[in-house]
Symmetry: C2
């Protein structure tokens, strides 16, 4: 083994310290690095390639529904941010302020966008005239800034990458349909592409977005039992439209306010992938977003013909999967550990005896299973295995969620469970914010969402005992 | 025609007022809009789709040479920006400063990146240890901010989108090769994909990048005879490496400084496309980056079967080109003008008589030529036409440059030409910055570049008369 190459170093075990395990993985898998910019992260090539794959998949799904991309300025004048009351209250405390351009003080300070509702609204007010201009379905891929006190890579940082969709519609019904359509796009992406099961549901008023009528969410449960909000879709009604005077002339020749939605996901998704699928050997990536889907590792590569054959196989695999070959002078054992750390879904091992037998060994990252495959059938075996891996990842995560979902009907028992277990607690809630606040004080949990499909069944509010048909999943969240 | 739809409004003629023509085109072709953020622009969906196509093409070319994408924080602490002397002098006067996070003043102010050399250097110093780690070929797609006094859409704005490549190499030779390789990638892209002929050459020391040893450029000539710097590639030598202590252990077991390059293009490219190919009917887009390559316009669409047949053709064309069909109730004349304004390379007209004859009419945006094509051969005719259009655009632009390139050997004649003509003036230069500055005073031109292939021939410096083998293209520039 080359002396000047890093060893694959041990990472903290998940069971010992989940937070430390997480930090070890993001560093050792080369996803991020720190810089002298406090609270911000460098997304390294391997991490950024995951984000590029996420973007490619989601962008295609958005465009299929008619969404167009746009780019707005990154600055928002203070007076514009203040135009919608709830919105400014939600965001003003955590924005970064630009006060000088060159050596001159600005006449009005600008914030670096924490989100771009206000800019979109101003633009929509400029360009929407008639019912013929609707709907307008715009999305933006960009970075946003929120001045957080405590930060963690991907999960909470002062700057992060995201997409923000902002759409305008003629009717309240159209806006609600769009809100739910995009929530479903997110849910499908999490479940089918990332192998992460999600709860789809509505947020309580306390937890909804500043300025929204309703916020819908896809919530995922991490390996340690803490919840993570994966994506949100908001119905704004006509609140912003009224504040920004966004009106259209309808067919009946009267002026009406537009109805608006917004929806977004961010680089948090990468945090969700790590904490849902990862293990004590490092990252485990769902094949759809893995920068490398198959790594080819030659064994006894000094023997004649091995590297040549391995290269031939690598080139073949590259025609149907994202592949890499490692012919460096590191030992096979080092390479195995390295690509396990990096979460590569499949390892293809090929040595002299395999070559003789016209076969290779395929090793799955998700369960360690080894399979011998004929070199003639790789183009069918590998794509199938990659699908199987996503499915298995989904099933394992689903199982974890099932095992970590508790149902409570009595407050004392709820508090006991919340203190002893980590996961979701299902419990009825009357809809009163006072009960929600009280539960947070008593059990240190927040409402994650009111899942669709679990509403309408009678029960008693876990706090006040009042009869209700609202059921909430409660938990601790990232 | 629908009453509530905008008319295709007249734009100013290029000959009357080129600057006004430009502003009219960017607005009327729906490329940009203004907002309350002074000096910044909104890139609207049609403009952003051009940028997405540019990104897709360039990103694939970069990756083919081994480049990886990365994301750096958008902020740079003041002390980090100051680490390389020339660099800070070049940029500090035009950066935007963040001084507050939320309601608290920052202990050190941060600038919004005008470019990211300093962050890349800091990161490279962290991750480069040995010759085995080299080269490192990183690129970033992002937005940057420079606090300009006067701004124009795409050409000069306080925020713009770009890519910045930053690479590290073991030797000076490797760095020079990379610098020139990326310059060639840009030149190929401009000439083959955008149909814009460029001069490849070196910048004078006066015009080079703050902190670079050498800056290479691709320079394009706009329709009005003014030059536009299309992209630059810089060889930094080991200056930054010494300032940031970026060293590697070489094979001979000694520590050596890395050699560095950087290279970038921005949304200015869209300005170059507009001003190279556009005409008095609006935008003319090169097919490779056109969001819509073919627009299908049914004629007499109220007649039975016309919309159905047009839709069938549209679907067929969509399998090999980016296509759109317009079945709105606007008149064909309105539609023709609209898609001419938007620079769509090909218009496909289809009416009842065409359908009977199993044909359609194809109209080229670049030269107005009409062709009748059989509906059975569209999949060969259209791709060929799209190639022909790029070639013709290139030839027209090349002709314009040829007609606007003047050669001068006497100072008086140079000054006369500079005052009467608009274009490049070829003239020898001794290499002395004093002569360059004097020429700017006397003739109001700057050195655009020393084109490769035109150096080494003896002549006399246009200012001081000293013998030299350096030849410069001078001009007025955007």
């Amino acid at each position: 083994m080359a002396k000047d190459k890093k060893m694959v170093e041990q990472i903290t075990s998940m069971e010992v310290d989940f937070a430390k395990w997480y930090t070890d993985v993001v560093k050792k898998a080369d996803l991020i690095d720190y810089s002298s910019v406090k609270g911000c992260m460098i997304i390294r090539p391997y991490g950024y390639a995951i984000w590029e794959n996420i973007q490619k998949l989601l962008d295609a799904k958005f465009k299929k529904t008619g969404v167009e991309n746009i780019y707005m300025p990154m600055f928002i004048p203070e007076s514009l941010l203040q135009k919608e009351k709830d919105h400014v209250e939600g965001f003003a405390p955590e924005v970064a302020w630009v006060t000088h351009g060159g050596s001159e003080p600005l006449t009005e300070r600008l914030c670096v966008r924490p989100t771009s509702e206000t800019l979109f609204c101003e633009h929509y007010a400029n360009i929407i005239r008639s019912y013929r201009d609707l709907p307008k379905l715009y999305n933006q891929w960009c970075s946003v800034v929120r001045w957080e006190k405590t930060t963690r890579p991907f999960l909470r940082s002062r700057e992060f990458l995201w997409q923000e969709g902002h759409t305008m519609h003629a009717t309240a019904e159209d806006a609600e349909n769009e809100t739910l359509q995009m929530l479903n796009v997110y849910a499908d992406f999490f479940e089918k592409d990332l192998g992460i099961p999600v709860l789809k549901g509505r947020k309580t008023d306390k937890e909804k977005f500043a300025g929204a009528n309703a916020t819908y969410t896809v919530e995922a449960l991490m390996h340690d039992g803490k919840a993570l909000q994966g994506g949100t879709s908001h119905n704004f009604g006509d609140g912003f439209a009224k504040a920004f005077n966004i009106q259209y002339l309808d067919k009946d020749n009267t002026l009406k306010y537009c109805h608006q939605t917004s929806w977004g996901v961010s680089t948090r998704i990468i945090g969700a992938i790590i904490m849902t699928h990862g293990d004590d050997s490092g990252l485990v990536l769902p094949p759809q977003v893995a920068p490398i889907q198959v790594v080819v590792v030659p064994c006894a590569q000094h023997k004649p013909g091995v590297i040549e054959k391995a290269t031939e196989i690598y080139e073949k695999v590259s025609t149907f999967a994202r592949a890499k070959i490692d012919v460096s002078d590191n030992s096979p054992g080092w390479k195995y550990a390295e690509y396990e750390m990096k979460g590569v879904p499949l390892r293809l091992e090929i040595g002299p005896r395999d070559i003789e037998a016209n076969q290779c060994v395929l090793v799955r990252r998700d369960n360690g299973e080894k399979l011998v495959a004929s070199l003639d059938e790789l183009d069918t075996v590998i794509p199938k295995l990659l699908c199987d891996i996503t499915e298995n990842l989904y099933n394992k995560a689903y199982e974890n969620r099932k095992n970590r979902t508790y149902t409570e009907t009595e407050l004392d028992s709820f508090i006991k469970t919340a203190s002893e277990k980590s996961g979701y607690i299902r419990a009825h809630w009357c809809g009163d914010e006072a009960c929600e606040v009280k539960l947070k004080e008593l059990a240190e949990v927040t409402s994650r969402c009111l899942p669709f499909g679990e509403q309408g069944k009678k029960g008693k509010c876990i706090v006040c005992g009042k009869e209700t048909d609202k059921l909430v999943y409660w938990g601790k969240a990232y």
